[in-house]
Symmetry: C2
Subunit: 381 residues, 2 copies
């Protein structure tokens, strides 16, 4: 039986951070009821790409959830929400701070009525502090939280992290808080409020840059694909693309020189120590690529793996979806986006547990309000 | 009382993903005993930057933990480990798959001896699949997992995400699995094994790129700071740096034109729809920056915030550490690296909970084996 079997999550969130959190809780065994705005529902229903007219993006984040459309200002629908809250273990919301209070569903009010209910909130800047009410997007917190300042080419402009880590990492911290609250409730009988900010979450994943800025007084900059303080530790060009070479110490560097048959002496004072290699990183890169450009990445990766050296090709997402190790780990799963019958693929569950049966597909995402009748029936049981 | 108060985590991991996981569990109230290799301890004790001779990097990840040095092949130390395992709720390890079995501490053996013990493992490629045993670094999974293929300038080479998301996201999923297992144990009385792979974890945070590659058959590429399918949604140059402009629809774009007093007509067919703006993104960028370069970022941010438009400056890490909202949220905390008395700062806990008192500092990181006597005393109690 899955760890969260029997747990019901009432999910009032939309777009990304909140639905990502409930998606994780569902993967761990919870039942998720998605409460959507009548008429249009979650904004991501209109986000590309589409398969058979349905958003593959929406389906990726909401596969297997139930949907009910509720107008949180209409008395009949509020009555349904009240009954859902009485049955739920967890409620999630991502409104601007204060909105739930104005609707009559703030933490204090809900906790008084439903002491065991766990309340999870995710917002741009959190429920406290001078800027609590401001709007945010993924890119806003990637910029303000500093990760863009250390991502991009040396001397070039800041670039966005390709994955939406502004939203996703916040959704992950929210899931952690909710899980901790579920555990604690078994001992105390009481629910708790969890308040996660997207901006806070950016700080929490940058241990290295913060240590550098704080201990040295100098903010780290951008270094492209290169590690800021270890050389060689970067991507290098092969004949058909980029692959990783990473040698963390002098012995590994000497081993690497031999493995790739580099035309240089690892005892050369320009390369003999990591500090020297960092000083001469551009020269070393030219010497390495003069060799590696001669053959495709697969040639070099085979040699490095045979020598026990960590390496990988820089894969694009189409290659990732065919990666044998990821397929063997059930990380690329078919998902049915709608009744049309066409499948596409979505990520599997990265949390493999002895108590959690592995899945081999993802269920369809719900149509807007598609489960109203089933949910109302369940409320009467 | 903190949610995980009373929980003991025995942490055999080193470097980043594993210590990051136990750091999170500690923030939620657990006691963490760090088991280190005699002599040198965790590799990160030797990682820069240093404050008073101690690694600020190590201190950031290990503040407040207890340290004991154990040789897992020496009978006396194995006896101590056995007694620690009997008292622990959670054991964490990040050896290559198979190493714990050879040491006699594999999941099957431990589960037979300690049925309530939760076993959390994090590795490069996981405990199953054809490449389970291979070594990995953060950069290896950033490359192989696809995120580098969508991070960087359009037409430029792939770049590394500045934060170590290859490790950190895996540590976060491991924390989620451990928390779910703790909850489940309250009902079943049984521990579980959690097996998280750094490569799997990369796939799980790329919902958008995977949906694009899977639904369209075309792998997405790099677009610098620009959102791939929304315009304007990027960073733009002000007189003194970069800031974010993000207009998600036509009405917001018209509002933006007015707010920034842009010399263009939002009804101009080249800019009237998001599709047209995406086609003409380079032209639009030139028109916007011709205006925004005239004043510093603070000028534009004040205007945009007054108009309710999401925005932010691209902050470097030194600016982040002075950000008033982050300071108000206790996300920048002093930490004492050693007995020398100099403090530096580290990230606070991003999971704010009504059941968890806020902290205003981080405790020192332990010296290697510094808590041996206290731990042995505790074992006799």
């Amino acid at each position: 039986m899955a760890p969260l079997s029997g747990i019901t999550v009432l999910d009032l969130t939309h777009v990304l951070a909140g639905p990502y959190c409930s998606h994780t809780l569902q993967d761990l065994g919870a039942k998720v009821i998605k409460v959507e705005r009548p008429g249009t529902g979650d904004d991501t229903r209109a986000f590309p790409p589409f398969v058979n007219g349905a958003s593959a993006y929406f389906a990726t984040l909401n596969a297997g959830k139930q949907s009910i459309a509720l107008d949180l200002k209409a008395p009949t629908d509020r009555d349904i929400l009240d009954r859902l809250l009485a049955r739920a273990d967890v409620v999630l919301e991502n409104y601007r701070p204060g909105v739930m209070e104005r609707l009559g569903y703030g933490w204090e009010a809900l906790h008084a009525r439903h002491p065991r209910l766990i309340y999870g909130a995710v917002s741009g800047f959190g429920h406290t502090g001078p800027e609590a009410g401001k709007p945010a997007y993924d890119m806003v917190v990637q910029a303000r939280g500093g990760v863009m300042s250390i991502t991009g080419e040396e001397g070039g402009p800041p670039v966005r992290v390709g994955a939406s880590i502004g939203d996703i990492v916040a959704g992950m911290f929210l899931a952690q808080g909710v899980l901790a609250a579920l555990y604690d409730r078994e001992r105390t009988g009481e629910g708790a409020k969890v308040d996660v900010a997207m901006l806070d979450s950016q700080l929490a994943i940058q241990e290295h840059a913060i240590a550098l800025a704080s201990a040295t007084g100098v903010a780290p900059g951008r270094t492209g694909a290169r590690h800021p303080t270890i050389t060689p530790f970067s991507t290098y060009r092969a004949a058909d693309g980029f692959f990783v070479i990473a040698a963390g110490n002098d012995a590994m560097f000497a081993h690497l020189c031999k493995t790739l048959a580099l035309p240089l002496n690892p005892a050369d004072p320009r390369f003999a120590t990591n500090a020297a290699r960092c000083d001469n990183h551009a020269l070393l890169k030219r010497l390495i690529e003069a060799v590696t450009l001669e053959h495709p990445a697969a040639h070099w990766i085979a040699r490095m793996e045979a020598a026990g050296l960590p390496t990988a090709r820089v894969q694009d997402m189409a290659e990732v979806l065919r990666d044998p190790q990821l397929l063997a780990r059930a990380m690329v799963l078919p998902v049915l986006p709608d009744a049309g019958g066409t499948t596409f693929t979505a990520p599997g569950n990265p949390i493999k547990m002895s108590s959690l049966p592995e899945i081999d597909h993802r269920r369809p995402a719900p149509g807007l309000d598609a489960d109203r009748k089933a949910i109302l029936d369940w409320l009467t049981r």
